[in-house]
Every structure is written in C-alpha cells, then in structure tokens.
Amino acid sequence: MTRRVYLDSNATTPVLPEVLDAMRPYFSEHFGNASSIHHHGQETRSAVERARESVAALFQCRASEIVFTSGGTEADNLAIFGLAQPGDHVITSTIEHHAVLNACKHLEAMGCTVSFVPVDRRGLIDPEDVRRSVRPNTKLISVMFANNETGVVQPLAEIGKIAAEAEVYFHTDAVQAAGKIPIDVHAIGCDLLAISGHKFHATQGVGALYVRKGTELEPMLYGGRHERSRRAGTENVPGIVGLGKASELARTGFDRHDDQKMAAARDRLERELLKLEATGLNGEDAPRVPNTTNIYFDGIEGEALVIALDLKGLAVSTGAACSSGAIEPSHVLLAMGLRPHRAKASIRFSLGKQNTSEDVDFALGAIPETVARLRDLSPLWNRVPTRIT
C-alpha cells in the first residue's frame, strides 16, 4: 500500500474527528427540521443557533449576523448578487477565486460595470488603486482575504477604510483565511465575509456569510423564511453543527498558537524546496496565511509534477482544475506577472491541521528526485544551457 500524504488543504481538508463526533447525532437521532415547533425541531434549532454563535465568535461578530449557506461559492454569490443592481459599479481584483470573478463577470452581463484592480508581483493589491477606482455609483468592493493559490493576505483594513469613507459596501471572500488566521470583522471593516466549512475541517456543502447588521441584502433563493429571510431552504443541520465545531476548534487552536506551528512546518518545507536549483517563491515578501506556499520549478510542467508526485503518494496541486480535470495556467500567477511557462511550472503546497512533521519529511523526500527526473526529460529545461530565466 502506497503511503499517502495530503498537502492540498486549500482544495479541501479532512473532517476532524471532533467535528464528525459533533455532527453524528444530527443524522438519525436528532433529525428534526429546525423550523418545526415540536421537540424534534427545537433540538435541531438550538443546535443550529449554538453553531451560529461559535461561527460568530470566530469572526468577532453577532450570531444574528451569520447566514448559513451551502458553501463559499453561494456565500460569495449571495453577497454580490444580493447587493449589486444593474447600473451599479463594483470593484474587485484580478486574483479573486472564480466564485467572485465569474459572479462579477455575470454582473457585467447584467448591466453593472466592474473594475478589476490589479496586483503587484508579490500578489498584493494596492489600496490606492481601489480608492482611485471608486465612482459615484460604486455599490460594492469585493476583495479576497487570502488567495487560494499563493496564500497572500490582502491589506483589507486599509481597503475597509476606503470603503467606509466612500460609503460603499465591502465584501471579502475569506474562504482561504477562515480558521487559518484570527479574523475580526470590525478590524477589517467589512460588511460581508464569506467562508466555506470544508476549507477548515468541516464538511463540504456548508458555508456562511457574515452580513453586518443593517446591510440590505436581497436573497438569491426564494422560499421559506429561513435564515432571517436571507437564505430560504431547510438548514443543513449536520453540516452547520460541524461548521460550528470547526470554528470552535479553530479558535482554541489560535489560543494554542497552532497557526505558528503550522507556519513553522510550512517554512521548513519551503526553505528546503527553495534550495533546489531554479526554484522560487510566488508571493515572496507578502504576508501569507500560515499553511500555503507556492513554488515554481523552472523547466517543468506543473501538471506532470502533480501527476508524478501523486503516483508516489504525495497530493499537491497546481492552478485551477477545469471541468475535465485538466490544468489551465493560473490566472492568479499570470496576474502577478509570471510568464506563462513559469506559471505552469508552479506548484501549490497547502497544509492542514492533520499534517505532521513526517508528512513534510515525506514531501521533501519525494519532490527533489521527481523534479530532477522531470527536468532530465524536459525539452524546455535542456534547451536552455545557462538556465538563466
């Protein structure tokens, strides 16, 4: 049996045993519809509300400001389509996740105008670019918290100030930041913040949107008056309970400085890999979440490296997988100014709470020899005698 090590936690994470334990009674034992008035409904209603409090506590907001959704994509879409109307102007960035990027492209089709703010070579947005993009009809600024591919954390507090001064709504896709670094919605000054459960050890299919009290948000789904009429549909009780537990675990983790330990493991992996010839860090000199590193290995196709490593038992990723599973060059790395060949030679390593120091050892054992073999067989690598890029 091949030993398998998973370093792709920005794609998804395993559900932690404590989370699964918390969820387990809510399948067959406490199965009530949280809207029902009887005992069964009361049981699950209180579980949902306890979970709401745990999630709110992770972001320093009120429980009533949390709307549960089916995931990060729905939360992002609710924030964007819940606010922007035809004729409005929206500001976002070029490195957003497709949940925001394609939603904003659809806004354009609906009759909104959208400004896509660029990033510098570190992957950082200049808040002044955001300020300069504000127009009289700007309705919303949507900038991600941490990038899914590089882990780079954006200067959100500054953007929040700009939004407040301009009296523009400010949404952040915090899917890759939630549970990884402490978040305080007031410190950022955001009106909306989207999270996804499975990125921090809850299940796939649950997420949440923080909606600051007083924000006038149109629902996307029409139906019953669930979630204060912001999101119709019977609650995913086990998923929500899991999200609450994962939020609680994330908070206690910060108290134990788990994030610093993870950063240390990530840094060791990164340091060793950067010792290899013709490699480099994408997002260098920028603040990053503690679990992510994105490294280019010149002269290889990232796609082949991902496959070769998977066959050796190491799961990592590159770019964004399209519907067929093939890899397209990363829009994030291209936006940072990487040449396409280097963008395609880049690999993302992302750790989770489940990873051990042995996992990093395993990766460090597998990667150098695999990179060497790929380069030996690469026409790209062998064509450049000086290997200066």
Binding site: I307, L311, S324, R373, P379
Partner: protein, 363 residues
C-alpha cells in the same frame, strides 16, 4: 485514453497482463470554443475531448482500477495541428491533422509526460503493429491484422526512439474482437460508436470550421478568392477561396458544363483552381517532402514498394528513390488518380512501413 472502445480495450488488456498501467487523456481542444460561431453547432456532445469522453475514460479507469489523469496540451495542439490545418487549406492543400497530432502530440508530448511520470512506454489504441527487427537493428511499423482498420498511414512519421517506446496492443485483433474484449471487462463504452471524423471539426464540416476559426482569430487572409480555369488556361468562372477545394473534387465547383469537371490542381500563387476531365487527374509521379524513413535509415538505391496516397487508397506499386535531403521521388507503375498536395504518401514493403512523406505541389 480517448474514452472510446479502442484505447479502453488497450488499458483493459495491459491491466489483465498484470502490467503497471496509468491512464492518460490528452485535453487537446476546447470543443466549446467555437460553438455557436458562424453556424457552428451549439452542442458538442460525443466529441473528442468533450467532457463526456473524459468522463467515459475516467469511468473505464475506475472499472479497471488504474490511476488516471487528464493532461492539457491545448496550446501545442493549436500550434502544431490546428493552425497548420488551417494554413494548409488556405494554401490550397488538403491536410491530414491526425498525422500531425501523432507526430507532435501523441508520440511526442504525451510520451514525454509518460516518461516524466515514471512510465517506460505508451500504449495506444491504434490499429498497427510495432516490432524490433534484430537483423535490421531497427524498430518496424507494420500493418495490423484487421486491414479494414489499418492506421499505419497516419503513423509514418514515428521515429525509432518513439517506436521503441510504443505499444499497439490492438495490432493483432479485429474490431469485433476489441468490442468483445471491452464487453468482457464490463467497460461502459463497449457499445460506443467509432469516431470517424477529424476530432476538432464538428460534423466533419471543415469549411465552417475554417470560417469560425479565422473569424475568432481575426486574421482572415485578404486574398483567397480567384479564377476557375481549365487545364488549357481558359477562365470559366470565379471561386470564393482555394480552401473550398480539394484535388479530385467534383461537386460544388459552381460551374456548369456539358461534361463532368474535376479539380485537377490548386495553384496557390495565382489563386487559380484548375479544373478538367477525370482522365486529367491521373499522374505517375509525385514528390514527397519531409520524409521519415522507418525500416531503413536511408534510401541508397531505388526501391520497389507499394504507395498509399490517402487513407482509403489501395497501395499502388511504385519505385521510390531519394531526390534530395528528406525528399523522395515516387514513380508509380500505373498512373494514380488525384495526387493531393498536403496528403501523405506512405511507402509499404508488404506489411512493413518503409516510411512516408508529404505530397508536394506539382511543379
């Protein structure tokens, strides 16, 4: 693995032999890219590289319990197959994209990826045979047992290095046997119809594809229209573009005369399409360029072979002789109909592929 019967059966066979098999699908063309463009079909179901085919290939890999990956080579495919395909038509030739794909993608890029991920060889669902000949000290490409499925015509460009790392497990089988094997392994694709046409050209309508692609690229050449002339130089009409014609074509010439007319030649320099009678289509010689030799390192003296000038052509006896670097002069025993520039001339010695090259414009 295309998601079709042949490559799926190959995976099943090799797996049954206990070999360490990895399934790869090449994503070569985004079928949605030109959908809805200039009368192109909106729906692209059941096409190569469609999501359905990738889904089928993945299901087969799951059934067989082999690792499976999709690798994206869209950029190379466009550069080395699609663009040359378009340019050949615009230059009045009739291209064979499948050969280019074999030379530049399947047995080049895919082989590199295969070796990079730790494989020694690639196996494909082509109907052909490959064998090492001790005496000649060369890898040979041979026609398959099922002559009706023979794909060696598209494989003449393979080098010794490529052949040495290639397996064609279907070479000894007939198509019904291959289907039976797929059924035996309970593969979901066992009854899937064969693909017939050029994978990136929906419905086989290459003219519509050219229009859509050129529009998308915004580089429509100014001059493709020209005169329609007879073999004795008489102008009898005009045509909208040389890419609408292929040598030997009879229908759609847009001129009416008493006797049937055929395209005899397309002159790219003058944009003239030369038409004439059927008997004028026959010629005895052709020049093949960019020749690749397989069974012999060089042609030191003239050699008697059988030459195939298009996929469905019955190989015709001919003498081949070297006529310059990478160039071969082919002289047929009997005149052959419609030697078409852009197609390949592939030389056979019995079952063995001697080599082949690209048919050039007559001068």
């Amino acid at each position: 693995m295309s998601g079709g019967v042949d490559s799926s059966a190959v995976a099943a066979m090799l797996r049954a032999q206990g070999r360490n098999v990895i399934g790869l699908t090449m994503q070569l063309w985004n079928q949605r890219r030109l959908a809805g463009h200039e009368g192109m079909p909106e729906s692209v179901q059941g096409r190569c590289c469609s999501i359905d085919d990738v889904y089928d290939a993945r299901r087969v890999a799951e059934t067989l319990g082999i690792p499976y990956y999709v690798v994206n080579h869209e950029e190379r495919f466009e550069r080395d197959v699609v663009r040359p395909f378009v340019e050949e038509y615009l230059a009045g030739r009739t291209p064979i994209p499948c050969s280019l794909c074999n030379n530049h993608l399947k047995f080049d890029q895919l082989l590199i990826v295969a070796r990079q991920i730790g494989a020694d060889q690639i196996a494909t669902g082509h109907y052909a045979q490959v064998a090492f000949d001790q005496q000649l000290n060369r890898w040979l490409l041979k026609r398959p047992a099922d002559r009706s499925k023979d794909q060696t015509y598209f494989l003449f460009g393979l080098t010794q290095e490529q052949l040495s790392r290639t397996l064609f497990p279907l070479g000894g089988m007939t198509k019904p046997e291959v289907r039976e094997l797929a059924r035996k392994h309970s593969l979901v694709i066992a009854e899937k119809p064969d693909s017939q046409e050029i994978c990136f050209v929906p419905g086989g309508d290459y003219k519509r594809f050219l229009e859509a692609y050129l529009t998308e690229q915004g580089d429509r050449p100014a001059e493709v229209a020209g005169e329609m002339v007879t073999t004795d130089g008489k102008v009898i009409g005009e045509h909208a573009g040389v890419h609408n014609f292929t040598v030997g074509q009879r229908k759609g010439l847009g001129v009416a005369t008493g006797s049937p007319l055929y395209v005899i030649q397309i002159n790219n320099d003058t944009r003239q399409v030369v038409v004439g009678k059927d008997e004028e289509l026959y010629s005895r010689t052709l020049r093949a360029r960019r020749v690749n030799l397989i069974s012999t390192p060089e042609l030191r003296q003239p050699m008697a072979v059988a030459v195939k000038i298009r996929h469905k052509h019955q190989p015709a006896p001919a003498i081949i002789e070297a006529a310059g670097p990478d160039e071969v002069l082919v002289t047929f025993d009997q005149p052959q109909r419609a030697l078409t520039p852009g197609q390949a001339a592939v030389f056979y010695d019995g079952d063995i592929v001697v080599g082949g090259g690209w048919i050039e414009n007559p001068r």
